[in-house]
């Protein structure tokens, strides 16, 4: 078991003929992902990497059962591509593209939420992986070993570091989701925690947050009320000055919102230990799981 994706997940790639799309499609296939088709408007009818390419997601859906779509479409068309997938009935849409205009995301997220039956992950995210079953993202699959810790994160490289450390320590990962570093994203920590709560193969969850916004505070509130499994926290950017954007568009402290103090207090209130280093994340997981 795992959450969101497994070895049976049928995947299409939007933007499969682009440089990024082609490169990562090949890597996903190598990692075991069942890629069944690609979509590039204007290139329908071709075959690439052994799968058919369609002009629209709707056409792909006529010929294939689709569980998920991953999007590598460049920023100007990325939100539109996510809406296309959502309206074609794809239940899981993973938006990798970075640099999407914020208003495009405001509109797309609102519309997708109104549809009600579609989960959007990202944008500007590394995607998700259920190790050794399905990689729906751009992470290096080699550092993820199958295991029992759920991992959710707002960052890319910190996720890989943490996954590697947990894998090397023998715990491994049930499913890992990079939710993305932008201010407006489709899925937040508190959306994913209930899924891990219900997944029998996830024994503990690591939440790698960072400064900016209030996702960590919302997650802590859920954990305090409902979480049945141990959770370990991490907050990146604790030393960052106020008002400066630290790489991620969402990693900025505005006034009193988004401060590390607020996030640490929220985690403390939910009895979630917060690691200061990646090694400490592993130590806290060991303390919880033995």
């Amino acid at each position: 078991m795992s959450i969101l994706v497994n070895k049976n997940t049928s995947v299409i790639v939007q933007g499969i003929t682009g440089r990024e799309g082609a490169f990562h499609t090949e890597a996903m296939m190598k990692a075991g992902t069942r890629v069944v088709a690609g979509v590039t408007p204007g290139k329908g009818g071709q075959t690439t990497l052994g799968v058919p390419v369609y002009d629209t997601v709707k056409e792909a859906a006529v010929h294939h059962h689709i569980d998920a779509s991953i999007i590598f479409v460049p920023a100007p068309g990325a939100a539109d591509a996510a809406l296309e997938a959502a309206h074609a009935g794809v239940p899981l849409v993973v938006l990798i593209t970075e640099g999407i205009p914020t208003m495009d995301m405001v509109k797309a997220v609102a519309e997708i939420k109104a549809l009600g039956n579609v989960r959007l992950i990202g944008g500007n995210c590394p995607g998700l992986i259920t190790p050794e079953e399905c990689k729906l993202g751009i992470m290096p699959a080699s550092v993820f070993k199958k295991g029992r810790v759920g991992l959710i994160s707002r960052s890319g490289t910190v996720t890989y570091e943490t996954a590697k450390a947990l894998s090397d320590a023998g715990y491994g990962i049930s499913t890992c989701i990079g939710i993305g570093g932008d201010p407006i994203i489709g899925t937040t920590f508190k959306d994913l925690l209930p899924m891990f709560n219900d997944d029998p193969e996830t024994h503990a969850v690591v939440v790698c947050g960072e400064i900016g916004g209030s996702d960590e505070e919302d997650a802590a509130a859920y954990i305090k009320e409902h979480m049945k499994k141990p959770v370990v926290g991490f907050i990146g950017g604790r030393s960052a000055p106020k008002g400066k954007k630290m790489g991620h568009a969402g990693a900025i402290i505005m006034g009193n919102v988004g401060t590390p103090e607020s996030k640490l207090a929220a985690f403390a209130d939910a009895d979630v230990p917060v690691a200061e280093t990646i090694d400490e994340i592993v130590e806290y997981v060991r303390a919880k799981l033995g």
Binding site: A75, G99, T102, K164, D215
Partner: protein
Amino acid sequence: MNLHEYQAKDILAKYGIPVPPGKVAFTADEAKQIATEYGDLVVIKAQVHTGGRGKAGGVKLARNPEEAREKAAQILGLNIKGFITKKVLVAKGINIAKEYYAGMILDRVTQRVVLMLSREGGMDIEEVAATKPYALIKYPIDPHTGLRPFEARELVKRAGMEGNLNKLADVLVKLYQAYVGIDASTAEINPLVITDTGEVVAADAKIVLDDNALYRHPDLTPLREFEAEHPLEVEASNYGFSYVKLDGNVGVIGNGAGLVMYTLDLVQRTGGKAANFLDIGGGAKADTVYNALKVVLKDPDVKGVFINIFGGITRADEVAKGVIRAMDEGILTKPVAMRVAGTAEEEAKALLKGRPVYMYPTSVEAAKAIISMTGGAK
């Protein structure tokens, strides 16, 4: 991207929001000329990309053209929080009866643009939010309907704003149209003034544009002022790096915003202070690392460099080659602590043999090493 007040007001005016007549002056004589044209009370306002201009002496009233020249001469060249004033806005004076606040920002919690309204105009709105939260009305706008006149009227009433209801509501509707039209991330009118004759006027304005959407606003792109940003931030962005100048002495280079933030945290936790944030992005080659070192080492505060790379795609030997090139060219003369996890670590070690570059297996060990080499926090 930040806009100046006069640029923001030009945009608001284009969307039909009344602003006081005003023009930009680069010299005191130009200011005098504009004041002569208006023939009345004028306000001289420093045009710099920072707040707190009034407190710093960057906003002054002038009753006649000669006074306008004098006041402009005082303001031009003024250093406001590190920004040198190179131009002033000379705006026609208005007779203020009431000062309100109207602003729009992106709210992550509701995932919408939120309209904020307050009767406490002219104050820093964060201060209002902190000290008098009841005086601030927040309203998330549905992105698919926009802000409609009836909603705007209701909000004006709720905020307890006095003055012409239709004119006030119209400003709010148009402010949202401007916000969406130019892809802003912040648009504020503070103060929104009711004059003694009952006119509604945007007496000051602040607009920040969404950098991600600049590509679809070619008319706004030229408004970017590189001299208003830190010179190293400009140079770094030319290489495609994300760079933030900080106030410590340990140069930091890493891949991925999260990992760089983590590295800064480790430096601080170990007793040091980072001089910068620099993210080289994914799949870096030797040239990328070399260019990153060039940028970081131009900062005279830097006493040593901490390179922290997670190698998913990035190869450690490529990183080493970039470091060696910077040394051979004499750019890199300061100590380096390096931690590169992943592919080709052994090759990197072989390349760096005999050089004053130290590779450590973990970020924590590398942080300790660079702090001891740079002597800790200043």
